[in-house]
């Protein structure tokens, strides 16, 4: 293990009543690292992300164990202090960008309001929003549009721009490319890689798609039924899986006939 890590999860247990759905002994996310969290649906990937955001209780789950950001314990903090972490230090992007934006506000309003919420002044907020839009290769003019007037790929970029503008250190990306078509998907992946390089963002990339995970991630953790079956460098895990389930997952990735 490399040092303390930026985000360190240990002995994390998430349960609904008496039914335990996630149990993670140890998971670390380092500075400027992209960690893939792979597994089938229902394996507890998204619950883990929700727990990191301190939002597991909103779906009725209870969390025990430790989630630490730069050594500071997050579990057990009151909601008021957690709200400070959410967005400002830990941001999240979701699977379906077209429903992740409130349709009644212009996207620029959403971005600047979020910045204002975390303490930016009005002019600072619009400057930072415009700069972030450029950083994700979107024209700041698009901020005057409503979500229904942007494509899925553009909206996902806006969501990422929001995380950039908030200067989030950690980005939880929950299936961020699953609802996008392949070319747009590639653009979003490039963008995530680029953010890791330029601002040292750490990314927890949650996906069921091993092909995408293999392309993007430095390290991979494979989850099934709430347990991490194996984790390690992406090149190693995906070329020489130690756990039979990982091998099974790899088998299930469709390949072009000519490639095999």
């Amino acid at each position: 293990m490399t040092g303390l890590g930026r985000l360190a999860i240990s002995d994390l247990q998430i349960s609904f009543g008496s039914r335990q759905v996630v149990s993670i002994d140890d998971l670390r996310l380092d500075h400027a690292e992209i960690l893939g969290l792979a597994g089938e649906s229902g394996s507890g990937k998204s619950m883990t992300a929700l727990a990191i955001l301190g939002l597991a209780h909103t779906v009725g789950a209870t969390v025990t164990g430790s989630i630490a950001l730069d050594g500071q314990e997050l579990t057990g903090l009151p909601q008021e202090s957690l709200r400070d972490f959410r967005g400002r230090r830990i941001a999240a992007i979701f699977q379906s960008p077209s429903t992740a934006f409130n349709p009644v506000y212009r996207v620029g309003t959403i971005v600047t309001k979020a910045l204002r919420l975390h303490g930016a002044t009005k002019s600072e907020a619009s400057d930072r929003a415009a700069a972030a839009m450029r950083q994700v290769l979107l024209s700041p003019d698009l901020m005057r549009r409503y979500p229904s007037q942007l494509s899925g790929g553009q909206l996902q970029r806006v969501a990422i721009a929001l995380a950039v503008a908030l200067r989030a250190e950690i980005l939880l990306a929950d299936e961020p490319t699953s609802a996008l078509d392949v070319t747009v998907q590639a653009e979003v992946l490039d963008l995530l890689r680029e953010l890791r390089e330029s601002i040292g963002m750490s990314i927890l990339f949650i996906s069921h798609d091993l092909a995408v995970v293999a392309e993007l991630c430095d390290r991979v953790a494979v989850m099934r039924q709430g347990l991490i079956l194996e984790q390690g460098p992406a090149s190693r895990v995906l070329s020489a899986p130690a756990h039979p389930y990982t091998a099974e997952l790899l088998e299930s990735v469709p390949k072009l006939a000519s490639a095999t």
């Binding site: 955001l53 939002l55 979020a114």
Partner: protein, 295 residues
């Protein structure tokens, strides 16, 4: 009817949005114009009514039950008052009652419905069971009972109707709020650290208010009719008040052959309800962010 999907100029200001909505939806324009007309009539009734005194206590024993003529366009009633004047002054009674009733009902119903739908759990149970108790009574009977306890006046009438009207709005907005609360952008807001109060008022409310807005404008006619029914039973407006419902009720016994007593007051109710319905439908199309960009 097919329009390009991004007709909105990016820097659309509010008046421009309104103008665009009116162009795309002539019914909204008609409804808005009619509502404006009613408002203007209510304001300027003393100036445009040919016999302003007839809206009050005046009686003209030699002019009783005269059919429409050049002197009395809408005829005269059973005590000789000019019906046109009374109908014009009526714009100051029923529509005003309706608007006050609906404002009270929304102010009670919307916050309760939002709280029930968004918070869920025991808050939801408590609010909805209390609401169910109110909904268990036939609304007119409950309003009747309340109005009977209070002294007969327009204020009592307003309170009685508002008291039976709000539970419907709680139901309406609760369902909407509960569905909006589960949408991904609400989760995204939470992930951004937005507070609960802010989520409720900035995100849940704007996305669940449209059905209430439409219902409110459709209910204007309903409230006017309910108020008329109560006035008819002697629990609301009392005789010289030029209430349309009261005029219809009082004119019933003269309907044949003196049809003009009921007809013109009835038409005023019809026109008012129609105007607000058009306005409500138009507003729904204008305000719904998904519909306004679709053909």
């Amino acid at each position: 009817m097919i329009e390009s999907p991004t007709i909105a100029p990016p820097q659309a200001s509010m008046p421009r949005v309104l103008r665009r909505g009116m162009a795309a939806n002539p019914l909204l324009t008609v409804g808005g114009a009619l509502v404006l007309l009613i408002v203007l009539v209510a304001i300027f009734a003393p100036l445009i009514a040919p016999f302003p005194g007839d809206a009050g206590t005046a009686t003209h024993p030699f002019e009783v039950l005269k059919p429409p003529s050049t002197a009395h366009w809408f005829g005269t009633d059973q005590v000789g008052r000019d019906i046109l004047s009374r109908v014009l002054f009526g714009a100051r009674v029923s529509p005003v009652i309706a608007i006050i009733v609906l404002a009270i009902a929304s102010l009670i119903g919307v916050p309760l419905g939002l709280a029930a739908g968004f918070l869920g759990g025991w808050v939801d149970e408590l609010i909805m069971r209390v609401t169910d108790v109110f909904l268990a009574f036939p609304p007119l009977l409950l309003a009747l009972a309340l109005a009977a306890v209070l002294p007969a006046s327009l204020t009592s009438l307003t309170i009685a109707i508002a008291a039976v009207w709000w539970p419907w709005y709680v139901r309406l907005i609760r369902g909407q709020a509960a569905s909006v609360a589960g949408r991904p952008y609400v989760e995204a807001c939470r992930a951004l650290g937005v507070s609960r109060l802010r989520i409720i008022f900035r995100h849940i409310l704007p996305n669940s208010i449209t059905p209430v807005l439409v219902q409110v404008s459709l209910d204007v006619g309903g409230v006017i009719l309910t108020a008329s029914a109560l006035s008819f039973l002697g629990l609301g407006a009392q005789d010289p008040v030029p209430d349309w419902g009261l005029m219809v009720s009082a004119g019933q016994s003269y309907f044949t052959p003196d049809w003009w007593l009921v007809t013109f007051a009835g038409l005023a109710i019809l026109l008012t309800a129609f105007a607000f319905n058009l306005l409500g439908d138009g507003l729904r199309d204008l305000l719904d962010p998904k519909r306004s960009f679709l053909p």
